[in-house]
Symmetry: C2
Subunit: 440 residues, 2 copies
């Protein structure tokens, strides 16, 4: 069986003259089917990291508040702490007169109690003295002399104060397991006094570049050779999405070499990604090698998308093994769509996928034709014209990295769509984290 | 003058009873005015980083291609290399018969030439032999015997090949200065053979937390004390946007301590951020300290937004000095809106700001009132209901971090708007890089 697998190629055609006949050999999977398969992979293990390094990591456990926070009655304003009932009825024409008993010092528990008819000056964040149950803002008060305060507005009890458990109640869930830690989540953990936090390990990705024509980037390629672009592109992709790339290096199109390198990847990493040459022979070789792994299970052999059709997804034990298309632009598009999700699952990310996915909306600058029966991903460049954001499709030979460099993102042409029209409003999946890339 | 500055506070009110009178003391700046001021800051210096660490960094110089790439005529398909004219007129009913001269080996310059009537087997990425000017795909060919190939389709010259300069022409600009390096940009640099790349240094941000009530996070706060949430929130924010935080530690509300720490920050970092207590007195102290710096220029003293009004922006020499509101949630909102841009400028990011800013669109779940004359930023939580994405405003006391933890993003209510209505479609500025946070 596997010896016939080389008929899986990019353009719905296969060897031996069976043009368009490949679907009879292989059941191509649809994007939702592949997502389901990816969703079955389990997270890698946990580690503890110092709070300073927690941003962007995924929480490995629920974090509960060990106490009420802030833990004491705080003023939310600059003003005067007092008993609310002592202001009842006070107005500009009929101010209340209170005895001023000094000032609350920041960070200290006030040493005196407030009794009926008394007030203490307090700054935002200060602790209310015992007996006081509210703060009247400074602008509604007038100090008449050192010991007398005039208040010309009534407050209700607990006005302008933060209660002891307003931020977090003891035992409340502050951070949920599976949640990526944002700046404010790190801040909340600081508030709880956590100097370190349990997070999922960054999945380690073994990257293998295959192809007799591929040479290390520091060398000068001879005619017929090209530098190893895929390793660096995929390595950068891993870093961006929170994985740790482990470049195993170049592998010749040779059964034993590839077998050895895959074994090394499985031993050292959480997942192995083989970025192949583009020829049918290389893809065939990858499958033959995987087939010799005792515990290998082929899960996806071809996806009904373009580019990216010849993608292979399998597992060895519980570790995902991915065979990516050889063309760098196909490989990166497959990575954006599927491997972001795979790394998400291995990183323990919880929740429903894709719902709030980063995109911009733009108007298509020209018609796009598409074949029904497969999803097409078209690279686009964004530009602005008369206050509208336009998406210009970038077509070109798929072996070129320059096309990707020129593009800002991808648009999807659905399976049952025959194309899109100039002027259509389309969602553009951005190639990169917009926070870093497009804010400026 | 500076001694009266403490009248700038969060709620359009000031001391001394001049309610709503503050705008006569201070000319609040609008968001566009503040953006203009921020845009004048210049990038920090350059450094060289290994290509493996280049992702997300900003290119420090234009990168030109030193040669044509790929540099030789490559096959874009699995097939047969031949002279296109030898296929002219070929069809299934009238195939062309060619002499098969063996196979092109990957990564090697073919040793033989193709002459009239000859063909060579070639895989995707293989180098075309001299004399050949096109590739016919394998599925249109049939090997009749070891030396004879039947071709049943005509190709035009240069069909299915990649030209020597198709990816990059010698001297072409591959990466523009000021561009953040994405995965494919790193890949392109690998293709050029660049093992390292010139990028802007990550701006170093000195963070000072002030407030007599603030204690280090590993301690147990006594009544009246709180842990240093702001330092960790702002530190995480810096890391997320590509800056390097340098936490100088806690500073008492004391003139000399703060002055010493600001001086240390200016000596060690590219910008100093003072995250104040929330009281008017603390803000006053910050301004008095800054005023003693010989070369300090106050650029922004209050912004017409809520929250975030009491923000201070100045410069000491060419280094930005920022006074942030003390409440962590106000501080983070100001950071999202203004300091992302500041770090962008210091990082050398080129281009127009904000145009493609990361956001999602959602329907407002309830009415929001807003005061005309200022921009309001409302925290919202996103949720899905019957296939619509809804934004639920989260109101709450601004001293609480829990409100931020609960929120997914911000919506802006413009200066000249009195509010928004339930069901309005609004843009939600996400708190975090969606690539990491929301894909799953």
């Amino acid at each position: 069986m596997l010896s016939t697998l080389f008929s899986l190629c990019e353009h719905s055609v296969c060897l031996h003259g069976q043009i368009f006949g490949m679907d009879t050999f292989f059941k191509l999977k649809t994007t939702p089917e592949v997502f389901q398969i990816i969703d079955r992979f389990q997270p890698v293990g946990l580690e503890a990291v110092p709070l300073d390094e927690a941003e962007g990591r995924v929480a490995g456990a629920d974090v509960l508040s060990p106490q009420d926070l802030p833990g004491f009655l705080r003023s939310a304003m600059d003003g005067y702490a007092l008993r609310a009932r002592d202001t009842f009825g006070a107005s500009e024409s009929l101010p209340a007169l209170l005895e001023l008993k000094g000032e609350v010092l920041m960070g200290q528990s006030p040493s005196i109690k407030i009794s009926k008819g008394e007030a203490m000056k307090i700054a935002t964040g200060g602790m209310l003295p015992e007996g006081a149950d509210g703060v009247v803002m400074v602008e509604y008060c007038q100090v008449l002399d050192e010991g007398t305060l005039e208040v010309n507005r009534a407050i209700v009890p607990l006005e302008n104060v933060i209660l002891p458990d307003d931020d977090f109640k003891k035992g409340a869930i502050v951070i949920q397991k599976g949640r990526p830690l944002r700046c404010q989540d790190v801040g909340a953990l600081a508030g709880l006094g956590q100097t370190e936090v349990s997070v999922y390990r960054k999945p380690k990705v073994a990257i293998i570049s295959t192809g007799d024509e591929v040479v290390p980037i520091h060398t000068s390629p001879r005619p017929g050779q090209v530098r190893d672009i895929n390793r660096y592109t995929l390595g950068a992709f891993c870093r961006r999405i929170g994985a740790e790339p482990l470049a195993l290096g170049l592998c010749k199109d040779d059964f034993d070499s590839l077998k050895g390198m895959v074994a090394e990847g499985l031993a050292e990493a959480d997942t192995v990604w083989i970025s192949g040459g583009s020829s049918v022979g290389t893809r065939d070789l990858t499958l033959r090698v995987l087939d010799t792994l005792g515990d290998f299970e082929l899960l996806v052999h071809g996806i009904s998308i373009s580019p990216g059709k010849p993608t292979i997804i399998g597992k060895s034990g519980e570790k995902p093994v991915i065979g990516l298309p050889g063309h760098v632009s196909s490989a990166l598009i497959v990575a954006e769509i599927f491997l972001t999700r795979l790394i998400g699952r291995l990183s323990g990310l919880a929740g429903e996928p894709g719902e709030f996915q980063a995109h911009v909306e733009a108007y298509l600058s020209r018609n796009i034709e598409s074949k029904s029966g497969r999803e097409d991903y078209i690279r686009v460049k964004l530009f602005r014209e008369e206050d509208r954001l336009l998406a210009e499709p970038i077509f070109g030979k798929s072996g070129l990295i320059s096309i990707l460099v020129e593009s800002d993102g991808l648009i999807r042409v659905g399976m049952n769509t025959e194309g899109l029209y100039e002027g259509d409003l389309v969602g553009v999946m951005l190639f990169e984290s917009p926070n870093r890339r497009l804010l400026l």
